[in-house]
């Protein structure tokens, strides 16, 4: 758990009735002994770190086009259309 940051999904209070985290806030004031339990029930979630694959700059149109090529959207490629026309003419 050390080094990992967490974000509260609900308002959290300590035993003294003091709010220790609001929804969306990081959990520095939450009792360390509770973190694993709260994570298991979904009251807190880990803050994503670089390299997790779900953060970074938004995709550009070029990226999207590249994704389509990579995943086989061949009919939209100019070459594919030309090949299709050639096949129709033959």
């Amino acid at each position: 758990m050390h080094g990992q940051e967490y974000v509260a999904q609900v308002a959290l209070y300590n035993k003294a009735g003091v709010q220790v985290a609001a929804p969306g806030q990081t959990c520095e004031r939450v009792a360390a002994s509770s973190l694993a339990t709260l994570l298991a029930i979904g009251w807190i979630v880990p803050v994503p770190t670089p390299g997790d694959g779900d953060i970074g700059p938004a995709s550009t149109p070029a990226d999207e086009a590249g994704d389509q090529v990579a995943f086989g959207a061949l009919p939209t490629r100019p070459g594919s259309r030309r090949r299709a026309r050639d096949e129709e003419g033959s």
Partner: protein
């Protein structure tokens, strides 16, 4: 089953104590049934209607002084809905209690009084929800300022998902300049960190009041339950006498 009033910790109707002194109490919790006999059937067939009813009778001597049982019972007649809470055995965290809420009808027959005591027969009938296996989360007590019971939670030992009914009874309230007070039931997986589970209606009036609120089935209710009350605004001398109980389904 009959109880002497000295064996009952509290009996609150709409925030008002209706527990008499030197009375015998009898309680009945009933599920109604309805005839459903098809034509041509030899035997009578009855089916449950899934409607509950709570009945109580109390016979004996009632305190006639201001704010006591006699006044509360006489004033409760004609109110369409009420919330009733009964604490058996003791007024303590985790002790058993009964809660009922719904349409209220009551009869209160009283005779001659001796000093501040009235001989009376009271009958209460609530047609609605009955929760006869509740536990006290916050005993009936006077408390000053913001308060909570998160240091003395009730631990059910496991989480549950079948729903919950929570009862709040406020017998007296002094806002002391504050604009309102909000009472909540909180739950916790470990008794260390809590989140809100039930928020009762914000109280702005100082009259006795009561409320029953439910948590729908499907919501995960953590093992530990506690109560927290917080005032809004600013002031001084704010106090309340209140009790909270809850029943898991």
């Amino acid at each position: 089953m009959s109880y002497g009033s000295d064996k009952v910790a509290f009996m609150l109707l709409g925030g008002r104590s209706i527990l008499g002194s030197l009375t015998d109490l009898e309680f009945t919790s009933a599920n109604s049934i309805k005839p459903k006999t098809p034509l041509g059937t030899a035997a009578v067939v009855k089916r449950p209607t899934n409607m509950e009813m709570f009945q109580a009778t109390q016979k004996g001597w009632f305190d006639e002084s201001a704010g006591a049982a006699h006044e509360a019972l006489a004033g409760s007649r004609g109110r369409s809905t009420q919330v009733l809470c009964l604490g058996f055995a003791e007024n303590a965290v985790g002790a058993e209690a009964i809660g009922a809420a719904g349409a209220y009808t009551g009869t209160y027959k009283h005779g001659a009084n001796i000093d501040d005591w009235v001989r009376a027969d009271a009958t209460y009938e609530l047609s609605g929800a009955v929760d006869d296996a509740a536990v006290i989360l916050a005993p009936l007590a006077a408390r000053a300022g913001d308060w909570d019971t998160t240091s003395t939670p009730v631990n059910a030992g496991a989480s549950s998902v079948a729903g919950l009914a929570a009862y709040l009874q406020v017998s007296s309230l002094t806002l002391g300049g504050y604009t309102s007070v909000t009472v909540k039931v909180r739950h916790s997986p470990d008794g260390v960190t809590y989140a809100d589970l039930v928020t009762f209606t914000v109280i702005t009036a100082t009259d006795p009041t009561a409320e029953r609120k439910t948590v729908a089935a499907g919501t995960t209710i953590q093992p530990y339950l506690a109560v927290a009350a917080a005032y809004a605004g600013a002031g001084a001398g704010n106090t309340m006498t209140a009790m909270v109980q809850a029943q898991r389904y």
